[in-house]
Symmetry: C2
Subunit: 334 residues, 2 copies
């Protein structure tokens, strides 16, 4: 597989940005229709009243994915396409991303938020080559927040503010991290009340991160705040922005995180696995496998007086690993 | 104490809206200065680099409260003023709101978010008369979301979209609430790892609300999503918007919630106490006491085929009370 030049990548980026804007505007229109915006036609209004919220969302999801897929197929007929909707309906549950130039799309991340019209929902578009997310576009139209990045071109909020936002200088991770950090995590869909199930492992981990220093048999992390937004994609965007210091999650699929990883890495963030390796204090900290479903993200950081930027991030990774449980998420069929 | 006419209230509302806009723009300027916005003067940039984030926030907080306080004193010299900053520095820890016309202000809610530049921070301005919040203004300038309400005039997002957003018709609370509901809750600052302390009582309640139906000895609520934003004020705004169905919290002060309660009640929401009364299944559901520090909010609802709107809300209150623990927050000196 040939390399992609910066010129080609810039073209792909420009295309992805435009596509993200068009799709975002369609998504906002669909949301406004549910609000009962006056510009809706009588036919549209009747349609919205007839269907229930979940059906409407599925419809919006499928329409958006079809729109994005068609636009990509027209512009880049040789590129592969992996989207949430088409994956769910496909025969294979395998990890579909290989070395080929591939688009990985979530037409609507934060579905529950969208159903309830909580603004934390978005479109997520990533371009991946040789298994590396190189371009990321996240459009949260109800928030007026548009995140984008291109390898070699920086990561941006609304195409004007470079990420991370605080960058003159970019602060190191706090000396006593996770203390002083905003910790982002999600309750997810696996709510089975079984002893040592994922829900209870997550809660135990959350409580360790939150509890006072010295509490929880020395595991208390006393994070500055615990946040749950209900969108993995936006969690990653806010880590790239520097607003969240740490995001720890299991269960996501590649379309939930591909664009966010592109943006985070271009901004200088680190992403590795959620599950602590056996020798957590010394194990090498490797970049996450996109299809692993287990993610730990650390915000972009600068050097401290005694550590490199990367060292402050790696120290934080180990301090998180020390406080969290292994989660049990695998790929169906894997 | 004389009643306030709708005309007087409309004037107060117009004044509060303008004040919220001016203060919001000051807050956004202060945030942009920390981002290193190019328009900052050299002197401003040096100041930002010299101070640490927490000092800068305290400074912004105090400046904003002084600005708001002065504007109110000039326009309404006979009205009382209760603000977070002035309360914290004052001698009394008593509940300061009585029957007088009173302004209750939080110049910066979501302080941790503001420090980390996570957009969920806001200014909160309430006008209270005879202990009832009658006017509410919440400005979240980094989100471009401006919430406002005036008793008798409706509750609004960005002065153009009436709250709740979905209103043709407004849906009843879900039949199996809390299942189907977005549940908003906060980890808060009390992280003491003591058996049966507030942190553990909260977590037990959160897990009950989240767990599968049938789980947790029948207490599993299987909510549609659990959200934590780190701003009580914005939690209430999103309940008024209809995005969050349920918000349950202890520990807030009156300035954290006064504007949100005004907006929520004007939108048709219900707010009562977080702590289940002894006879939770039959106890009368009373409007919350503003100074109680214990809050349970239910979104605006419409009638179902078998219940009035209020009945669907009250049913939800009782289902929440059945799943949550009493929290231990009192007023210092109370």
């Amino acid at each position: 597989m040939a390399d992609i030049s910066q010129d080609e990548l810039d073209d792909i980026y420009a295309f992805a940005v435009n596509l993200g804007k068009e799709a975002g505007s369609m998504l906002l229109d669909a949301a406004k229709l549910r609000i009962g915006d006056n510009r809706a036609t009588q036919e549209q209004k009747e349609h919205v009243q007839k269907e229930n919220a979940v059906d409407l969302v599925t419809e919006t999801d499928e329409e958006l994915e079809a729109f994005i897929r068609k636009a990509i197929a027209e512009k880049y007929p040789l590129h592969k396409f992996v989207g949430e909707e088409s994956y769910s309906k496909g025969a294979s549950r395998d990890y579909l991303i290989d070395d080929s130039p591939t688009w990985c799309i979530d037409p609507l991340d934060g579905t529950v938020n969208y159903i309830h019209l909580f603004p934390m929902f978005c479109i997520s578009i990533a371009f991946i080559h040789k298994s590396k997310p190189l371009v990321g576009v996240i459009n949260a139209p109800f928030l007026n927040q548009f995140f984008s990045s291109c390898s070699g071109r920086g990561a941006w909020l609304n195409e004007s503010q470079q990420l991370p936002l605080i960058r003159n200088p970019i602060p190191p991770m706090p000396e006593k991290a996770p203390s002083g950090c905003v910790f982002s995590c999600e309750w997810g869909k696996d709510r089975r009340d079984i002893p040592d199930g994922n829900m209870h492992r997550k809660i135990e981990s959350f409580v360790n991160m939150a509890a006072e220093l010295g509490g929880r048999q020395g595991r208390g992390g006393m994070v500055h705040g615990v946040r749950s937004l209900g969108s993995a994609t936006l969690d990653l965007a806010y880590v790239a922005m520097g607003s969240f210091d740490i995001w720890w999650e299991g269960g996501c699929w590649e379309w939930d995180v591909a664009a966010g990883i592109a943006i985070l890495q271009e901004a200088g963030g680190l992403i590795t696995t959620a599950n602590p390796p056996p020798n957590e204090a010394t194990a090498p900290i490797e970049a996450v496998k996109l299809g692993s479903r287990l993610y730990l993200a650390i915000r972009p950081a600068g050097p401290s007086s005694t550590e490199t930027a990367r060292e402050t991030q790696e120290r934080t990774v180990r301090e998180v690993w020390r406080r969290v449980r292994n989660l049990d998420y695998s790929r169906p069929g894997a």
